[in-house]
Symmetry: C2
Subunit: 307 residues, 2 copies
């Protein structure tokens, strides 16, 4: 694969940035990759494992001369990081991000965007429940979607070049407007995460009653919720606060449906429950056909090897 | 391993029965295994794939002479199946089941238990989102829990023998009383399943609005919910109707917590959200330490190979 950018700067060195780094190296997509993380421990770890060609202690050194700057920080601080680096950006550079919310990020970043620099927001739909510089791997984005949301009035050439990078990283790329992105993600990701967090929190309260049985007998269902609810707390706090309206709207619909199903249970309305569960089963087939998950049994963990 | 029962009858030939069969064969735990399923198609499939040594078209033939009869049917029909086979059971036989609810099953089965036959209820905590005779595999129960709930006044020797079978199948066995079982499972399995079904149902409604985007961009979170919500509709309908009180109680607590988190989002209370998410993350560690799941990234699906 051909080089797409001469110099790329990764700001924030967690799961996404480290996976991007290994994928860019795998594909020979960047001449040099610089990195910066706020925490000295993270920078130390990055240097130790060879994450980035150079890790700088000063964020300005990391972005200076970069053709592409990737903001891999929680969405709640995107604006202030942009404000901080604004004066050190090269003319003609592109800034992008990897946040899970787009309208709020664009609103917070754009006021600090210097003349002659493009902002093309981005969101790779990939992740694991692990975080930190050691959690990345080159294959994370392979065959997953990356959604690009070009800021109004940005240069289409900047978007085209960024698309080339993400395709080289392994992703399928689509463009979308910010509000639409935030509504779709509220359904497919944000509301489900809050629900999983809630259920695990309820179990935690009960654990004090039933000793360790909730953990000991954690079956499929709850066990899968705990994976989701193990995701990074700072990232998710920011997601919910930044995509407040869409998330609350979906949660409102969710509560409505849940009440209807609770009533069906209370009234012994088996037909209602059976119809509902048959309908949801069909969605699963759609997802497998869309190539977004595996059909392997036992949640792809291998046959019963969960030891 | 030594043979535990001379003759075992499996009633209902889905995921659990077929996995039990392959595990019993693997371990040489039963002399002969007979089988029965209500549907002719299922019996035909079972014969085709060698599931059971003999598959009978008549349930009475299947249980006649069996030392152990395993009821692998939805919990809503356990009582009527027991009533049906009652007259054909061998004196000295043990009857068990594999249902996800225990109080209701015991209440429905016991009135039909003939003199000289023992009932020891059982619940293997294992499963996948697949169902039917082809979905079983010998390793399903390896290192998973199997909870035994001996009926009041049953012979401890019957429980001891059944325990030996499940240990031979690969499970860790514990005894528990029925009400306690149903409360623990409401938290770890029943409420989470209803919640997953609900969220997927909400998305299904919205899909009509956003075309196929909900499926196309199904990220971690929702994707995992769809797996849970792909489970067998009849089985789960019966679970909710049979464990009504405990499930509704947990759902009540869940709704309470969800409202508190929704309020925190609405009010922008980031500290509350961050604390909550940090607390739930710790539960995940407990489950991994308890050996009930793998710590592999990307939900154990392998690195990005979700194609």
């Amino acid at each position: 694969m051909a080089q797409v950018y001469e110099r790329v700067a990764l700001i924030g060195l967690g799961l996404i940035a480290s996976s991007m780094f290994w994928a860019m190296k795998r594909g020979g997509l960047a001449g040099e990759v610089t990195g910066f993380a706020r925490s000295p421990e993270t920078r130390e770890t990055a240097r130790e494992i060879g994450l980035c060609d150079v890790v700088y202690d000063d964020i300005h050194d990391a972005v200076r001369g970069a053709d592409l700057v990737v903001l891999c920080v929680p969405v709640g601080v995107m604006g202030s990081v942009m404000e901080q680096i604004s004066g050190s950006l090269k003319k003609g550079a592109t800034v992008t991000d990897v946040g899970s919310v787009k309208r709020d990020v664009i609103n917070n970043v754009m006021p600090h965007l210097p003349e002659g620099v493009q902002f093309v927001a981005g969101h790779p739909l990939a992740g694991t429940e692990h975080s930190g510089p050691r959690s990345g791997f080159a294959e994370l984005f392979d065959n997953r979607w990356c959604l690009l949301v070009p800021a109004e009035g940005s240069d289409p050439a900047a978007t085209a070049q960024l698309r080339k990078l993400w395709e080289g990283i392994g992703s399928n790329v689509e463009e979308m407007d910010a509000d639409h992105h935030d509504r779709v993600l509220a359904v497919t990701s944000h509301a489900p995460h809050l629900i999983a967090y809630t259920m695990v929190g309820v179990a935690d309260d009960l654990r004090r009653v039933t000793d360790s049985e909730v953990i000991k007998y954690s079956a499929a269902g709850f066990r899968d919720f705990t994976r989701i609810a193990a995701s990074d707390p700072t990232m998710w706090r920011d997601v919910f606060l930044s995509n407040k309206d869409a998330t609350l709207e979906i949660l409102g619909r969710f509560t409505e449906e849940l009440f209807a199903l609770q009533r069906a249970i209370r009234q012994g309305d088996g037909a209602h429950l059976h119809d509902y569960f048959t309908r949801t089963r069909a969605i699963r087939r759609g997802i497998i056909e869309a190539g977004q998950d595996t059909d392997e049994p036992n949640f792809g963990r291998g046959n019963g090897s969960n030891t």
